[in-house]
């Protein structure tokens, strides 16, 4: 079909994508791990290396394009989604990756973000959510938990944060997944899933900013607590979690509920079976909204539904117009309709 990424057998390695620029993130910043995962994924996609474009806005995370040896645009703050849309529409054969932060994407860039999702352009968005403005040194962001003390909230924030997953679904997004910067294997797997999804795929990477928001994800990343506070979603599998794999999620009436397997006669059969492809939004919305400590944080692909992409529809319209229009060039157009001559 027209308007799609072309793949072909190409032999590439990580080295094909490592740029010669010094990586300038703080030592210990979660961004490093994400970069490594992306470097691993690109060579696996069967796409010629000159067909990758990495687009970003402004923020620590948005320095990303400099560190990938691909075509790339380090844009202006908040506009990566619009820039990426222009790239993709311009040439649908390119594999377009957008890197953004919680501020870049959901503060100043919120509008472009919700629109790219509803248009469903085939763009892969990696949202580095450290719940803080890193580059400007520590002000709260739209994802900062309520009550947090930051440089601009000495008495704690009074803003209810966005949950990126919920916003994606509310904005008609077709793909949402969530991963941790501490789990490289899961990152590469999910980035591959995102790349394969035809449509806008949004991967929220919970990323640690060691300098301005250290340990904000501690509950779900540290060994002691993570197993009881996260659930790794697997397609078609019942939703089980916990250190001892003894807890599960079920639907009780209209709400989700954490249950213990074996207690009150509950078995795996009672649990929700994860279905990211379900076109209805309700359950996925609730899964995206699960928040520790009451619920485990859902990791993995939460929503992934098929829907035609913007660029395919556009290429189709163009093809149709080319076929059917009697006007083939500018000379035709200039002379079409009402004209009159002077001789």
């Amino acid at each position: 079909m027209e308007g799609q990424i072309k793949t072909q057998p190409v032999q590439l390695t990580k080295d094909d994508f490592v740029s010669d620029q010094m990586v300038k993130w703080c030592p210990g910043c979660g961004d490093h791990a994400i970069l490594h995962s992306v470097e691993k994924v690109f060579p696996e996609l069967g796409i010629p290396k000159e067909n990758f474009v990495v687009v970003s806005g402004i923020g620590c995370s948005s320095r990303f394009p400099y560190y990938m040896n691909t075509y790339g645009i380090h844009g202006i703050h908040g506009r990566a989604a619009a820039i990426a849309s222009g790239v993709k529409i311009s040439n649908p054969e390119l594999s377009v990756w957008m890197i953004t932060g919680d501020g870049d994407c959901m503060a100043i860039g919120g509008n472009h973000f919700i629109h790219v999702l509803r248009r469903n352009l085939d763009i892969n968005i990696l949202l580095f959510n450290n719940k803080i403005y890193g580059l400007t040194k520590g002000q709260y962001s739209p994802t900062t938990p309520m009550g947090s003390v930051t440089k601009t909230s000495p008495q704690g924030t009074i803003e209810h944060p966005f949950n990126p997953g919920e916003l994606v679904i509310g904005a008609q997004g077709t793909f949402f997944a969530r991963v941790l910067d501490t789990n490289p294997k899961m990152m590469t797997d999910i980035f591959m899933d995102a790349a394969r999804h035809k449509g806008t795929s949004l991967v929220e990477v919970l990323q640690n900013c060691v300098i301005f928001n250290n340990k904000v994800h501690d509950l779900i990343t540290n060994k002691a607590t993570k197993d009881d506070n996260t659930i790794i979603l697997e397609e078609g599998k019942p939703m089980i979690f916990g250190k001892d794999n003894d807890k599960g999620i079920r639907l009780n009436g209209l709400a989700l509920e954490v249950v213990r397997l074996g207690e009150n006669g509950i078995t795996e059969k009672d649990l929700l079976v994860h279905d990211p492809d379900h076109s209805d939004t309700g359950i996925q919305m609730m899964i995206a909204g699960m928040t520790p400590p009451a619920f485990p944080m859902a990791l993995g692909v939460i929503r992934r539904v098929k829907q035609v992409t913007y660029e395919v529809l556009l290429e189709n319209q163009i093809a149709h117009a080319r076929e059917t229009s009697p006007i083939k060039n500018m000379d035709d157009l200039l002379r079409s309709g009402n004209t009159w001559s002077v001789e």
């Binding site: 000159e50 474009v53 844009g75 222009g86 790239v87 311009s90 060039n329 500018m330 002077v342």
Partner: protein, 644 residues
């Protein structure tokens, strides 16, 4: 009586032969006509009615028909700010002015010779635009108490004496229309909708214009509904006949065909011409257009027009806002498209940050600003030369871009073409300034042949070029190369942080920053070597030089030519290239005793001229009323200076 002859007998300026309804070709039929035909050099007609009355259509049918008669024309619509304010109120009046002539004309005219007023509100709001002594055609059926009240007339203006000195033609149009179609069985609504065609018929009689063009328009437009075609035909004819019959005006008029250059002509509005100019440039450059845009009056029609031409592969992205419009275009430009974004003043403000990104990344991009009345939302449906300084300086840091200002509706085509060519060939954003007056106005456009349009050669980088460096420049134009994603061996990153010279890496080096700021400026300055020299209308040395820019050219030219005809020592320099200025502007300015800068703002070009050429003294004529200049205002101002 020229236009009464069958077209094929007329002077050799027409190509088409009009078989249909050459009803005036038989001199006998005109036997009863009392008066004579008065030859006019030009005439200005203003159609005014309710927003729903179809005045825009009426006006454009009139101009098309006149063009077929060999006249030149220019038109301008006068929309109300509301979509359709309450019927019969002044707020809801919509107007359309047509200027036709037998010699080159450049504007839609100052005051109207003929006003068509479909209701009292139209009369009320348009009388001031009508010449004392002019003809006013009214639909008396609409001049009733309800109409007066809605228009805010205390008493019947037709009786109050306020029209003394005008030649008023009263026609019970509403009733006559109903009469003329009653046996067709069309409903009241359809009849009401064709009142405008009755008025048009009257005008065709009055100006001895053949109705064929309009008749065939009906046929095409209402193809699927022969009844409507017939109804419109009848109404048009009824209007014609009515005017023929009533003998209110003792004469009719004729505007002779104009001596035009040979060629094929068409009618184009400025916005349409802009869109077509881009498509022409795309064809010449062999690259696809990407338009990223958000609707805004009066620029929307460019977006609309381009979205109708997917057969050329034009990609139109109706963005969520102006910022997405321009930034998507920057993405598309990086990807090798001819990137365009269109807007008006408030939208240009919103785009200003992103223009800086295009400057820093040194990518081609054309930003069209169809100027309107400001500040803020201002007068959105009115025209103004509001944004020259914004275009020049409305960005953070030193961010020079090329600025071109179209000078007529038709010139929008060439200006858009040239803007694209310069942008691509010099790898820099260009701001193209037009305005509401040009955008909505239309004029006869002589159709060029694409083979005569200049070639466009963007500096595309070649695959695997071992010498490719993202910010390496050529010596002549200082432009960098355009390396398009998908091309092997040229991967590179661009962005808004300062770039190292040549490599394009991020740089905070002090001297490099100075160098890059200077290089970016010099790159744009050198464009002066690639634009035509500035021309002057009139003697090369003179008492007075009238300086203008952009959309005012037509009226200023008329005024200057009128003064020149009167023997006044006036020349004219109209600037189309604003930044950089043509190299000879400084020298030209020095050859005149006095200089007057005429602008539809509080004095923006004059500031720019002082910056560039502080050695001269500039007088000013500034009008900021949402209206074009009038010839008389210009002549008066110039005369005052000449006599000073």
């Amino acid at each position: 009586m020229l236009s009464k002859l069958p077209p094929e007998c007329r002077i050799g300026q027409r190509k088409l032969y009009y078989p249909y309804l050459c009803r005036n070709s038989n001199p006998e039929e005109m036997g009863q006509r009392p008066g004579q035909v008065i030859e006019l050099e030009d005439v200005v007609i203003r159609f005014a009615g309710d927003s729903g009355d179809g005045m825009q259509l009426t006006g454009s049918l009139f101009s098309d028909a006149a063009a077929q008669e060999g006249n030149v024309f220019a038109t301008f619509p006068d929309y109300p700010a509301e979509i359709r304010a309450p019927q019969g109120t002044v707020a809801g009046v919509s107007g359309y002015q047509v200027h036709i002539g037998s010699k080159p004309i450049h504007t839609s005219g100052d005051l109207a010779d003929v006003l068509v007023a479909m209701n009292p509100a139209s009369l009320k709001s348009n009388l001031k635009w009508t010449k004392k002594g002019g003809i006013i055609i009214v639909d008396t059926d609409a001049f009733n108490d309800k109409g007066f009240e809605r228009a805010g007339y205390a008493k019947d203006p037709l009786e109050s004496g306020e029209l003394d000195g005008y030649r008023v033609i009263r026609a019970p149009i509403t009733n006559l229309v109903r009469e003329s179609v009653k046996d067709l069985g069309v409903d009241h609504k359809v009849a009401g909708k064709s009142r405008n065609m009755f008025a048009l018929g009257m005008l065709y009689y009055l100006f001895n214009i053949n109705m064929e063009t309009t008749m065939s328009f009906f046929e095409k437009k209402f193809r699927s509904n022969p009844l409507i075609v017939e109804a419109n035909r009848r109404v048009l004819t009824a209007g014609y006949d009515y005017a023929d019959t009533i003998e209110v005006i003792s004469n009719t008029f004729n505007v002779a065909p104009a001596p035009l250059n040979t060629g094929t002509y068409r009618n184009l509005t400025g916005n349409q011409a802009t869109a077509w100019g881009f498509m022409a440039a795309a064809e010449k450059a062999g690259r696809q257009i990407f338009l990223g845009s958000y609707p805004i009056t009066p620029a929307t029609e460019i977006l609309q027009e381009l979205s109708y031409h997917k057969q050329f592969g034009v990609k139109v992205f109706q963005a969520e806002d102006e910022i997405a419009g321009i930034t998507s275009a920057i993405g598309a430009s990086y990807t090798g498209s001819i990137a365009v974004t269109t807007t008006s003043g408030p939208g240009l403000s919103l785009k200003s940050e992103a223009i800086g990104l295009a400057v820093m990344t040194e990518l081609p991009l054309v930003i069209v600003d169809v100027q309107r009345g400001g500040p803020s939302t201002g007068l959105p449906t009115k025209s103004e030369q509001s944004d020259l300084l914004q275009a020049l300086y409305g960005r953070n840091g030193e961010a020079p871009v090329i600025i071109i200002a179209a000078q007529s509706s038709g010139d929008c085509f060439y200006a858009a073409f040239e803007a694209t060519k310069l942008s691509l060939e010099h790898m820099t954003p260009v701001i193209l300034l037009t305005d509401g007056y040009l955008a909505n106005g239309s004029e006869m456009f002589r159709i060029p042949s694409m083979k005569d349009m200049p070639a466009i050669h963007p500096p595309i980088a070649q695959a695997n070029d071992p010498d490719y460096k993202p910010y390496l420049r050529d010596e002549e134009k200082l432009r960098r190369q355009w390396a398009v994603p998908g091309t092997e061996g040229l991967r590179h990153r661009v962005g808004g942080l300062e770039k190292w010279d040549i490599t394009g890496h991020v740089s905070h080096d002090p001297l490099n920053h100075q160098r890059m700021c200077e290089l970016r400026e010099e790159k744009v300055n050198r464009v002066a070597n690639f634009i035509p020299k500035q021309e002057v209308v009139g003697p090369e040395e003179n008492d007075l030089l009238v300086v203008s820019w952009g959309g005012t050219r037509g009226v200023i030219l008329e005024a200057v030519q009128q003064m020149q005809a009167e023997g006044k020592k006036v020349s004219m320099m109209h600037l189309r290239h604003i930044y950089p200025l043509p190299l000879n502007v400084e020298e030209i300015l020095g050859r005149y005793k006095k200089i007057i800068v005429c602008e539809l703002n509080l004095g923006q070009l004059v500031k720019y001229l002082k910056i560039n050429f502080p050695q001269y003294k500039y007088h000013q004529l500034n009008k900021i009323q949402g209206l074009p200049f009038m010839v008389k205002e210009l002549v008066d101002a110039c005369n005052a200076l000449l006599e000073d």
